[in-house]
């Protein structure tokens, strides 16, 4: 049984005519990473809100179709500053905010918090006040807060937006590790060059609908490159007027060139 399944989902935000999602069907298996790519406004963030049971329950609006969630999910929103609880004066307490709300015993909370801090490499920040952190640090604290709640489905909306390149690489490695532990992961990202090494499947969203879905090779196809959604290597290959199929990564390009 897939932990997350969407079938024919259509969603309208309150007081809007045009749907934010149109006939979206997506099933995510345990241990699988699905990357959502698309232009701004394509519906990736909305899809994550629906998957997390926040839309329409919290956002309002109208949902049709079927959403089946067979496991607890955790979502990291794209704006880390607004996700701080405002009720914690240390990073440790901030990460523990979610597990404490779940009513877990203190010892279990401590175990999950320590593990999450280590995984995000922020154990050294444990005693810092969250409001004094940089954007990248806050992003990692928020992700740690979600992982400390031990969700089976992890939903990430632009998780590398505030991170430096090294932080982004570390995060993508962690995402693969989480999938290896059996968590189902859906990530909306504009870090297209990271997708081939991270994702098992890619869903290309356009105007709220899934235009194409498949292996990460999708990001080297003519249509995605034309839409500006190909990897950098594929885009350069195409711009140079070299023949399709375009290589997806630098390694692919080297192999092709030889």
């Amino acid at each position: 049984m897939n932990p997350l399944t969407l079938e024919g989902v259509e969603f309208h935000y309150p007081a809007t005519e045009a749907p934010a999602l149109r006939d979206v069907s997506l099933a995510v298996a345990a241990g699988e990473i699905v990357a959502l790519v698309g232009k701004v406004g394509a519906g990736a963030s909305t899809l994550l809100l629906v998957a997390a049971d926040l839309a329409p329950r919290i956002t309002g609006g109208r949902l049709t179709g079927t959403v089946r969630r067979r496991a607890r999910s955790g979502i990291v929103l794209p704006t880390p500053w607004t996700q701080l609880s405002g009720m914690a004066f240390t990073v440790w307490d901030e990460v523990a905010f979610g597990p404490a709300n779940l009513g877990w015993p203190g010892r279990e909370i401590a175990r999950h918090v320590e593990r999450a801090l280590e995984r995000l490499e922020i154990a050294a920040l444990a005693e810092r006040d969250p409001v004094t952190l940089s954007g990248g640090e806050v992003q990692r604290v928020i992700l740690a807060g979600i992982l400390a709640m031990d969700p089976d489905v992890v939903l990430l909306d632009e998780p590398t937006a505030e991170l430096d390149p090294a932080g982004a690489r570390a995060l993508w490695r962690l995402v693969r590790v989480l999938a290896g532990e059996g968590k189902a992961i859906v990530v909306a990202t504009s870090d297209l060059d990271a997708v081939p090494a991270v994702a098992d499947r890619v869903a290309w969203l356009e105007q709220g609908a899934v235009r194409a879905m498949g292996a990460p090779d999708l990001l080297a196809e003519e249509a995605t490159c034309e839409a500006g959604l190909g990897t950098t290597v594929a885009g350069v290959w195409r711009a140079a007027g070299l023949a399709a199929p375009y290589p997806l990564t630098v390694a692919d390009a080297i192999q092709r060139w030889r």
Partner: protein, 219 residues
């Protein structure tokens, strides 16, 4: 004072204005105002006492204009007690400790959060206003000069302040929801503040004093 149990701080902050209005004026209100100013001074002259005096000053001005001296003194001292008590409470009561204390007593976490968020809203709002003023200055808006100029600057500050606050409320609701802050949730207190027997006794004593003052006032 920050290390005292949050309920003790709340009880004290509630008892002072209650007694100010129940005890005979002006002596009773003078006493409560003195206590409130004493607490504000202990918490910090510049950080607490000065803001309390500045906030209370306009009330005195209006009272002098509208009433005779005895009435001005009676009402002014009472309002001063309320203002100084609230400013002192906002300065010494840590919202996270209040949440922990309320949760430890079995309160719903959402109720505790609303209570604590109200107390922590002022510094957050002030910080946001500072950021907007800086952003508007970068775009050439000067908050100094004539009254008309200042009014224009105020409009350029107020609108983004209000809109960004409303937008953040939406995002924060989503964020809190996803972190398990739901109605009816039974939160585990992480570090409930200690509540010594002496402080519990002091709270009951304050309550009894307030009841006695009420009875004394009625009979």
């Amino acid at each position: 004072m920050r290390t005292r149990h949050p309920f003790t701080l709340l009880t004290l902050a509630a008892a002072l204005p209650t007694l100010a209005w129940l005890l005979p004026a002006p002596a009773g209100a003078l006493g409560t105002a003195a206590v409130a100013f004493g607490l504000a001074t202990a918490a910090g002259v510049r950080r607490v006492l000065v803001p309390a005096v500045v906030t209370a000053a306009p009330f005195w001005l209006f009272l002098f204009v509208l009433h005779d001296l005895p009435t001005t003194l009676a009402i002014g001292l009472r309002i001063t007690t309320m203002v100084a008590g609230f400013v002192w409470l906002a300065a010494v009561l840590a919202p996270d400790r209040l949440v922990e204390a309320m949760v430890a007593r079995g309160w719903s976490v959402t109720v505790a959060y609303v209570f604590a968020a109200t107390l922590s809203a002022v510094p957050l709002f002030r910080a946001r206003a500072r950021r907007i003023v800086e952003a508007q200055r970068c775009r050439g808006l000067s908050p100094r000069g004539s009254v008309a100029k200042r009014l224009r600057a105020l409009r350029a500050l107020a609108l983004p302040l209000l809109l960004s606050a409303l937008h953040e409320v939406d995002e924060r609701a989503l964020a809190l929801e996803t972190r398990g802050l739901r109605s009816g949730a039974r939160r585990t207190p992480l570090a409930p503040p200690p509540d010594p027997a002496l402080e519990r006794a002091a709270r009951w004593a304050l309550l009894l004093v307030c009841i006695a003052a009420l009875v004394g006032r009625l009979v």
